[in-house]
């Protein structure tokens, strides 16, 4: 039985194709202006990577910001449920999941069975979301993926005075004008990011193990900062790209939905 999961986010779109509980192929693209187009392209990419035809997918679940605009899915499921499911599959001991998206962040708690018991989200304020890092990386003139590498080299991280992304930009410009080394500014940015995430996670209440999903989970600087602030070790996700958690969860839910049906 071949199933699919498609996660259309604000910045990136992800798709996963699974067969009998194994990932056959996955794809990640930058989202286009129209969610429907993003979904088509990313699903075609995942099928090509998996070496299967689109028509071979028996059931496909859509999730993410643009989930209601995906023409080909059989069902849609919330991002919370999909991220919980995907993260749990990659880290079976996970009870708390921190997911940072392009313009939101979520903290999700699971019970021993993997059912979502509680969650908190922020999609009102750019601070603490992927957008914050994007804006800051642009100011520093570095790629989003370089922020983490830069920051781990820092000896004297700066402290941003402001949480608001707009005001923090002014802080960063001042540091740049004063000739502060880029790595120290990058570290300050990642620390600020982690600080905002920690507020959300503390509101939820932490239960071990904790893991992080989403693109920001690939930023080593943010990972180190959040471990320090929360005083714990995050369980690393190594099985797959942590940014695929939502799409993976969608595919796993697609598998559940067809279980008991045609094998």
């Amino acid at each position: 039985m071949i199933v699919g999961g498609c996660d259309v986010g604000s910045l990136t779109s992800k798709a996963v194709v699974m067969k009998d509980g194994k990932v056959l192929g996955a794809m990640l693209i930058k989202s286009k202006a129209r969610p429907g187009e993003s979904a088509e392209e990313v699903m075609n990419g995942a099928c090509a990577a998996a070496g299967v035809e689109r028509r071979e997918i028996m059931f496909c679940v859509g999730t993410g910001y643009g989930r209601d605009r995906i023409a080909f899915v059989n069902d849609t499921v919330s991002e919370i449920a999909c991220h919980g499911r995907g993260a749990r599959w990659m880290v079976p001991t996970a009870r708390t999941i921190i997911d940072i998206g392009g313009q939101d962040c979520k903290a999700i708690r699971l019970d021993a069975e993997g059912t979502v018991t509680k969650f908190v989200t922020n999609d009102k304020c750019a601070s603490g979301t992927g957008r914050f890092l994007e804006v800051m990386a642009r100011l520093l003139g570095v790629g989003l993926d370089e922020l983490g590498e830069l920051s781990v080299r820092s000896k004297n991280p700066v402290t941003l005075a402001n949480a608001c992304t707009v005001w923090a930009q002014a802080d960063v410009i001042q540091f740049l004008n004063n000739g502060v080394p880029l790595e120290d500014i990058a570290a300050g940015i990642n620390n600020a990011m982690a600080g905002r995430m920690a507020v959300l996670v503390n509101n939820l209440g932490i239960e071990n193990d904790v893991c992080m999903t989403g693109g920001v989970a690939k930023n080593r600087g943010v990972l180190a900062a959040i471990e320090k602030i929360l005083g714990l070790r995050l369980r690393a996700i190594r099985r797959h790209d942590p940014q695929l958690a939502g799409a993976l969860g969608a595919a796993l839910i697609a598998m559940d939905k067809t279980a008991g049906g045609v094998k």
């Binding site: 804006v135 608001c164 992304t165 707009v166």
Partner: protein
Amino acid sequence: MITAGCDVGSLTAKAVILADGRIAGRSVVRCGTSPEKSAEEAMGAALDQAGIRLDRVSRTVGTGYGRARIPFAQAIESEIACHARGAIWRVPSARTVVDIGGQDAKAIRMAADGRVVQYSYNDKCASGTGRFLEVIAEALEVPLWEMGDIAARSTERLSLSNQCVIFAETEIISLVNEGRETADIINALHHAVARRAASLAKGIGVEQSVVMSGGVARNRGMFAALGEALGCALLELDDPQINGALGAALMALDALSATGRAAGGGDGAGVAGI
């Protein structure tokens, strides 16, 4: 008796020269990198306009973000107190002031003598401050000071779903790409900023009359939008951008009058109705 008030804000510095109970000179200058220089420039311009030399000013009160760095001020007062003092002098029936500045927003409720009863303040989040307007003006490539006139041509009511400046900027770019009219977009922006500032005022309880101060009050669209968001008519404040500096000059005068009455221990409110 000549007193002065100098309000060094984040974007502009303002000065007012008060001579015998009337405004003899006023100025607004764009801030440079040094608050000291901005203060001196604003004060110099106001003194020139009044035709008065600095050594004839009996007392100067400083206020605003850069108030601690005004070289010629004898005392400093909070922006909250100065805005309340200025507003009640201009509009004696005023009980609530909503001030939208370049980097903050304040709502102040006051007693009949201008004493501050309660206030709330936002300088943590750019939404609901003048910076919101500035960021979007840049994105739309329209001059900040023309936004009010442009919004007046709006024919369709749009609504922004994002309160965060960063997210709203993206939303506005999508509206532009959809072919929406700039006038309609700016009008929607005014209502978004006004909603945010109004929620600050509602938090402390709005008592009429309500006046709007700060540079943003010169934007007619913002003035109308704030009135709508508060659900009451706003009273106009003459020259709203210098209200803080005016309040500072009045407080300088209050202090001198109190000293003048000395031994009896004046209540400092004796000049409320000049």
